[in-house]
């Protein structure tokens, strides 16, 4: 019992240390007058979770810039729009496949200070709420880890199917182009001959009319 308690005390600090780590995120700058857009090609039924915030550490003292954010679906509908905030989050499940774009721009140009935005954008397996899945299915430790790996493998397989379908579509386009090249070349030759024949016939009848031939 004492040994177990001692080992637990050793493990707990690691647990807290790791839980307090900020999650991985990507950081980019926005110029005072510019818009930065990032996009990602997603398939249907993908869970997307994102949160963004302005990095306060890099800002000069006293400035408090605010940004606007807009998230658009592949067909142009706005899925999320937030104005004059310095942080925000959104989460949704995609209903159509395509390019989802998130754009950020400064709310007021008065500041003229470039801001650094940190965007944490997760989709698919990484976006799942593993804590609740662990509780629901009563998984712990290694089992939870392996369950996550199983989901990763599933998503890899889905991606392979998608690549295969895309390759089939591309092959269709290529074969159509191939057939069209053949047809158009034959038609081009045919058209050339027809035009030559018409020219000859027309000029011959013209010369006969003018009594030259």
């Amino acid at each position: 019992m004492a040994g177990f308690l001692r080992s637990m005390i050793q493990v707990l600090p690691i647990f807290f240390f790791l839980v307090l780590q900020h999650s991985q995120a990507i950081r980019f700058d926005i110029a005072p007058a510019g818009t930065k857009c990032v996009s990602e090609d997603l398939q249907t039924n993908t869970l997307v979770l994102a949160n963004y915030h302005i990095v306060k550490a890099d800002l000069p003292h006293g400035s408090n810039p605010k940004i606007n954010a807009r998230l658009t679906s592949p067909y142009g509908t706005t899925l999320h729009f937030a104005e004059n905030k310095d942080e925000g989050q959104f989460g949704f499940t995609t209903t159509e496949a395509g390019n989802y774009m998130a754009c950020f721009w400064m709310h007021s140009h008065a500041d003229n200070v470039p801001a650094s935005i940190e965007l944490d954008w997760k989709f698919g397996v990484a976006a799942k709420d593993w804590a609740s899945i662990a509780k629901k299915e009563k998984l712990e430790g290694l089992e939870l880890e392996l369950r996550r790996l199983e989901d990763v493998v599933d998503s890899i397989r889905e991606e392979m199917y998608y690549l295969r379908d895309k390759e089939a579509e591309m092959r269709g386009v290529n074969e159509t182009t191939n057939a069209r090249v053949a047809w158009f070349s034959i038609m081009s030759l045919f058209l050339c001959l027809m035009v030559a024949a018409w020219q000859l016939w027309h000029l011959k009848s013209y010369f006969e009319r003018k009594k030259i031939l």
């Binding site: 177990f4 080992s7 637990m8 050793q10 493990v11 707990l12 690691i14 647990f15 790791l18 839980v19 780590q21 991985q24 995120a25 990507i26 950081r27 980019f28 700058d29 857009c37 990032v38 996009s39 990602e40 090609d41 390019n99 954008w121 997760k122 990484a126 662990a134 712990e140 430790g141 290694l142 939870l144 880890e145 392996l146 790996l149 493998v153 890899i156 991606e159 690549l163 895309k166 390759e167 579509e169 591309m170 386009v173 290529n174 182009t177 069209r180 090249v181 158009f184 038609m187 081009s188 058209l191 050339c192 035009v195 018409w198 020219q199 027309h202 000029l203 010369f207 003018k210 030259i212």
Partner: protein
């Protein structure tokens, strides 16, 4: 008690998952993205593909330059004039790493990129913490292998997208240029006949007079 211990182990393993970042950005002149690396000796892998379809002569475009810089300002990876490539380096120090894309062409390019920071539990962690056994190390390696699979898939997907754009553009160009060619041929032959008739008309006119 056991639950807390199990959760701690899970947290330890889950924390070694670094969420990969996949984004697509339009590069006008220079675009930079920063990513935080937690531990020293983490392996940062990634790839980028230039997906564009506005270029007329594809061979003219020099590609874009990619530069990865460590927090100390040392260039850790640099690829010049490429339309898509993979990169990988070991992060010597933790901190904010900067990945920059430079576009030398006048037209903007869309770049799909994927960055993944991977941390494998190694013997050092094993020695420090008695509750990690070699199984955890192996699972950590398996996880990294799967993450590298996902990175490769993302790269393939971007390449396929670019290829698809080229194919669609080829088909469209074929159709329009062929129709243009037929019209030009017809117009040229009609013009020939008209000019000849006009020349002969003038000549005949002089003769008849």
């Amino acid at each position: 008690m056991a639950m807390a211990l199990a959760l701690a182990l899970a947290a330890l393993l889950l924390a070694s998952i670094r969420s990969a970042d996949a984004l697509s950005m339009t590069v006008y002149r220079t675009e930079c993205v920063q990513e935080h690396v937690e531990y020293a000796n983490d392996i940062v892998t990634g790839n980028f593909v230039v997906v564009d379809h506005e270029i007329f002569w594809a061979s003219d475009h020099p590609g874009i330059d990619f530069v990865a810089t460590s927090p100390a300002g040392v260039i850790v990876s640099s690829i010049r004039g490429s339309a898509g490539d993979k990169f990988s380096f070991t992060a010597a120090m933790p901190g904010l790493y900067k990945f920059c894309f430079h576009n030398t062409a006048p037209s903007p390019e869309t770049v799909d990129f994927y960055i993944h920071v991977g941390h494998i539990l190694n013997e050092h962690n094993l020695a420090k913490d008695e509750h990690l056994n070699p199984v955890h190390v192996k699972i950590s390696q398996l996880k990294e292998a799967l993450e590298s699979l996902m990175a490769d898939q993302h790269y393939l997907r971007s390449r396929v997208e670019r290829h698809h754009n080229t194919n669609r553009s080829t088909q469209k160009r074929l159709l329009f240029y062929t129709i243009g060619e037929y019209l030009a041929l017809a117009a040229a032959s009609v013009t020939q006949v008209l000019v000849l008739k006009h020349l002969f008309n003038r000549k005949i006119g002089y003769t008849k007079l």
